[in-house]
Amino acid sequence: MIAEMVKDRDGVNERVSEAVEKAHALQESLNAVITFVDPAKQLEEMPEEGLLRGVPIALKDNVNTKGILTTAGSRILSNYVPIYDAEIAVRLQKAGAINIAKASMDELAMGGTNKTAYIGPCHNPWDTRRMTGGSSGGSAALVAAGVVPMAIGSDTGDSVRKPASYCGIVGVKPTYGRISRYGIIPYASSLDHVGYFTRNIKDACVTLKVLAGRDERDMTSSFKEVPDYSALLNSDVTGKKIAILKNVVDGVSTPEIVTMFNGLAEKLRKRGAIVEEYAFDEALMRAILPAYFIIANCEATSNHSNLDGIRFGVREDGADMAEIMTNSRTKGFCSLIRRRFVIGSYGLFEENQERIFRKAQKVRRKIVEALDECLKEYDAVIAPAAGTIAPFIDDQADQDALGEESVVAENYMAIANFSGYPSLTQPMGFVDGCPVGVNITCRGFEEVEMFNIAKAIEEETGLADLVAEVK
């Protein structure tokens, strides 16, 4: 789809206008956009060539865009106009992409529902009573509704891959260090990845080629060469060894999803892949959520200490520095965020750190070692990306609260953040008219392998280029 758009050089203006109009038209029902970006200047300055030339896109609102409001979904940043561009914003511009919107997100990306955005929840294009999932919900909604063929997200635990499942699109989180994080407002630095949404695997290949590559401004950015993903794409999975994450499948609460997933596995076997169940130590699987919760919140409380209302952001009145900071941060963050910061800070206290933060970091290693063990034998690990279709927005349960029990099927995707390994979600089928996805995780920097398996799945399901008709 993207390749065809780029070829249609005369259609740029019309295409971009249509995208803008559609985004505006859907805003009332989806609430997916925080800031609409005027494309005029970008169209003027668009390069002659580029892999995304004249393709309308959207950016999650934690991507710094010079001169354009960037809020990270938080009230404290609701007046923040960056003085610099994120590395990927520059790369996208150079590739000719036209940014039409800054998309809604959970406040500071610290949620999985997109209900905590300061502008209110984002609605699922397949059923607007349902959530998009988060934290990159706005981006997912805009791609699923057919507004843009690609949108940027970010993924700390599953913030791209979960909404992709709920919205019936492709959500990619490449290897840690593959895409520069410079200029992405963080959640938890050791888990944060730039990710993106497309509606098919081919587009995912084109997009990664544009985004990936070494950036000196991100010291964790990889020096590894960026392959030509599109040229290398083939759907041959003959002889590929694929592990089914048994612990996850066993934990899925929706029977239709299990049936659907097993059917898909069977189709892959028919294509010549060796698809086998693989069980992880259940204790390790159950430890994913707490390890994630602790590491993410400990890092986040430190990362967001810069949000104090002094140099940027909404400054509340106060008699002195401490009062200004306290008032700005109290009003600037929602209740959930402040609760998370308190818990994160508690875990970092000298007297608690060994028992909490460092323990979580050690468990992280144990989990990654187990994943490595599996990927020694297998080329990929697959499982349903979610145990259910998108929940209803007004479901009374506080989905972001720390539950009594760890639900393995809903939280396992963070293993790809722990390890930094590439992972993507793509549509697998529908339940009650709502999409549900399958997730693939491969070894570090083996995106090519991941795309190939995904392409085979796409061919089997026939679920490419889905567009939800918003009602």
């Binding site: 003085i83 002195d320 609760r339």
Partner: protein, 98 residues
């Protein structure tokens, strides 16, 4: 001497983080804190006796260091762009009371 993890404890902690909590919010944390302890018990079930902390996703050391060359300076106007008021190019705060 474990301090009691009550509303006041967490409120004090919040104040160290430069924000306030309403009674309801503080109670929310007390409740969530109990759940955190439950979650911690899930971590404790994983034996990590001989395991090092995993701090970064990839642990091979790098060798890259930035050259000591000026690459990026912003103007004073840009530095002040996100504040309402400045005094001769300074950020302004009411006097810090010592």
């Amino acid at each position: 001497m474990e301090e009691k993890k009550d509303r006041e404890y967490f409120r004090k902690l919040a104040h160290q983080l430069m924000f306030d909590l309403s009674d309801e919010e503080a109670d929310g944390i007390v409740k969530e804190f109990g759940e955190l302890e439950t979650q911690m018990s899930l971590l404790d079930q994983v034996n990590t006796d001989d395991t090092e902390e995993m701090i970064y996703p990839f642990e091979q050391a790098t060798s890259f260091l930035r050259d000591d060359v000026v690459t990026n300076v912003i103007s004073q106007a840009d530095a002040m762009k996100n504040v309402k008021k400045n005094l001769e190019g300074h950020f302004v705060l009411p006097k810090v009371v010592k």
